[in-house]
């Protein structure tokens, strides 16, 4: 029997009632660390995140206020509001990489739960820091208890985020500290936990078991490759987790939509990492033009534009048909396509343009300075800049190139790409 229908209804918005699991994305870093590109391009990133169908997105009050549209409608993610602020990412006297480094760890409650409720939130999230100092932990306990009490009163779920940090936390005791802190958070009134992975399935299973409440594993700093992040999710789910709250691994991903979709596949559909990573059928291939077969029909060009812009034409395609005119009459034609020569990659001054794990060109728009060097470097003239200045290039239709698929005369084909 549910005691608070408010909490039940809102938790059901967050955790899929069909399987009791949730895939959430954390995008609340903007006021706790430096204004990195993922902070400055947050709307664009979150628009992509939403396309991956997460169950919830954790944001600050300000982001919720300015990007309300992302959370409207039944299919949209549940809104989770970060109700406190801390300066930990800027901590460390010698940490000069920060714009304004801090030396004292500070945490402040910045919202009341009723503010989040007023915003239409389905839950709030607050930190519980353990291991820094006894006094600091006591302050955290006090704040968490206050929030828990207020949330009980108004029927708003509270997600507590235990974080084991500080001099008292070592590699030896971190797993045990996380297990203990998870239980303490539940004792205070947490309806769910957002917590780091303990490092192995056995200890995380103990954490989940002793917590007795839904546990969402967080991702932490961005992994070097998506597979590492997905394997962490996989292990946490095997240990009994109820889902994820991944932040930088999603918001800093080259394709945030795909990253969310992959996590959704893991959490809700029970797919394995191998199934997900291997599901892209065409790895390390490239396009090859066979001019002898080309009739100049332009179907490849139209297909390209239809695929990417959802309209028909040939002015904005990512390949072209070059027609030779001899004696004023068209003599022969040939498709001009991206050969993945990587000249654009090599001239990119900000390393925004890269070849991803699957062998396709990919753009990190956060890094892109929109200088146009890649456009000028392309020997085939098949890269152009969109209205915002970002380069538009062949992305191999993510493994299923429509030009190849639709060419009626087999003038285009996929071949194995050999990287030297």
């Amino acid at each position: 029997m549910s005691i608070s229908s408010g909490k039940t209804v809102r938790l059901n918005r967050l955790f899929n009632p069909a399987d009791g699991k949730a895939v959430c994305v954390a995008a609340d870093h903007g006021w706790m660390s430096d204004p990195t590109p993922n902070v400055m391009n947050l709307r664009k990133i979150l628009e992509k995140v939403v396309q991956g169908n997460p169950d919830g997105i954790l944001v600050s009050f300000g982001t919720a206020m300015r990007m309300t549209d992302l959370f409207c409608g039944k299919g949209s993610p549940a809104l989770i509001i970060r109700a406190d602020w801390m300066n930990m990412p800027r901590l460390g006297g010698s940490n000069t990489s920060n714009i304004l480094p801090v030396t004292n760890f500070k945490k402040k409650a910045t919202s009341f739960a009723k503010d989040a409720l007023l915003m239409g939130a389905s839950a709030i999230t607050i930190y519980y820091f353990i291991g820094y100092s006894d006094e600091f932990e006591a302050l955290n306990i006090e704040q968490n208890a206050f929030f828990a009490k207020e949330c009980r009163k108004i029927g708003l779920p509270i997600i507590i985020e235990p974080m084991a940090v500080g001099g008292a936390v070592t590699g030896v005791n971190i797993a045990e500290t996380l297990i203990v802190s998870a239980r303490i958070a539940v004792e205070l009134g947490a309806d769910a936990l957002k917590i780091p992975y303990t490092g192995d399935i056995k200890t995380f299973a103990k954490l989940v078991d002793e917590a007795g409440m839904p546990v969402l594993v967080l991702g932490g700093a961005k992994s070097d490759n998506p597979r590492d992040a997905l394997e962490l999710v996989d292990e946490a789910m095997q240990a009994g987790a109820s889902g994820t709250v991944f932040g930088r691994n999603v918001t800093k991903a080259s394709d945030p939509r795909q990253m969310v979709a992959d996590i959704v596949d893991l959490v809700h559909r029970g797919k394995s990492v191998d199934e997900i990573v291997g599901k892209r059928a065409y790895e390390h291939v490239r396009l090859k033009a066979i001019p002898a077969n080309c009739t100049g029909c332009q179907i490849c060009v139209v297909s390209c534009q239809a695929k990417h812009l959802e309209n028909y034409g040939n002015s904005r395609a990512r390949l072209k048909i070059k027609i030779d005119y001899g004696n004023g009459e068209p003599q022969n034609s040939k498709p001009v396509v991206c050969t993945l020569c990587e000249k654009c990659v090599s001239v990119c001054p900000t390393a925004a343009l890269t070849i991803n794990d699957h062998g396709y060109l990919t753009l990190n728009s956060e890094l892109c300075s929109r200088c146009g060097d890649c456009v000028r470097a392309c020997p085939f003239d098949v890269i152009w800049q969109d209205a915002d200045g970002f380069p538009v290039f062949c992305d191999m239709c993510q493994g299923d190139p429509q030009c190849v698929r639709n060419c009626p005369s087999n003038a285009l084909e996929l071949i194995q790409k050999v990287r030297i």
Partner: protein, 261 residues
């Protein structure tokens, strides 16, 4: 879809909806350092400028006593300064500040009751960690209260502290903007900075950004500055000791809202 009608209506009391720009004037420094030259007689000074700017930042006491100067379709709207600081008590002040303080002197309800269209608070950056944390906490709660009351809040980024140097000034401004966007305020006032920084901030933010112009400001640069995506300008207290400040403000006002001219 505009959800918060109250905020939108009040915000457009100061931002001209036809040009999406605003020219604001600040008179509030007097709460920290007393009457500055040219602002000895508040009533007289404001009478001279209240039809040639969009909004005037005033302290709550002055608004209460001189409310008749504000309101109406042609006159400037009042913005209430909600906080106080002794930061501006420099070495040449009769009692220089030894420790910098910032405290709240008004709140959202008070400002609404006074008839203000917005409240203005400072985010003073670069001081010690406690100071910053308290500042963040204070602005956060003002923002929440303002959301409930549909009252716009503008935050002024003040990179004043000992941690800020020429080396990190521009990044500090950006950090301040990032923090304030997340807190949930309705407009940001930034200090004068290079055009390139204005452009980055203008393109990045989706709320009005107003620049507090410095003494080096050249009116010929107005259009360039506004083309960076900024929403307007704030003229500070240094203006009042110049002989032709009314002429200066009027010229900017006309230039900014050209169709009015």
């Amino acid at each position: 879809m505009i959800v918060n009608t109250g905020k939108m209506v009040r915000l457009h009391d100061l931002i001209n909806p036809r040009t999406d720009n605003c020219l604001l004037v600040d008179t509030s420094v007097t709460s920290g350092v007393g009457a500055v030259e040219g602002l000895e007689h508040f009533h007289d000074t404001v009478t001279g400028i209240n039809e040639i700017c969009d909004g005037i930042i005033v302290n709550p006491g002055q608004l209460e006593h001189h409310a008749e100067l504000f309101g109406g379709s042609r006159r400037a709207t009042p913005l209430v300064r909600l906080d106080w600081t002794n930061y501006f008590r420099k070495a040449d002040f009769c009692l220089p500040a030894k420790t910098v303080y910032r405290i709240m002197i008004s709140d959202v309800e008070d400002a609404l009751q006074l008839g203000a269209s917005a409240g203005v608070v400072r985010y003073m950056m670069g001081f010690d960690d406690d100071f910053e944390a308290r500042n963040i906490e204070s602005i956060s709660h003002v923002a929440k209260k303002a959301y409930r009351e549909a009252f716009p809040i503008l935050v002024e980024i003040g990179p004043f502290g000992y941690k800020v140097s020429q080396h990190n000034l521009e990044d500090t401004i950006k950090l301040g903007v990032a923090c304030m966007l997340e807190i949930g305020i309705d407009g940001i006032i930034i200090p004068d900075c290079p055009i390139e920084i204005m452009r980055i901030i203008g393109e990045w933010t989706d709320i009005p950004v107003i620049i507090r112009i410095s003494e080096q400001f050249q009116p010929k640069n107005l259009d360039i500055m506004l083309n960076t995506g900024l929403s307007g300008m704030l003229i500070g207290e240094n203006i009042y000791n110049t002989l032709d400040y009314k002429k200066f403000i009027k010229a900017l006002f006309v230039q900014m809202h050209q169709e009015k001219a």
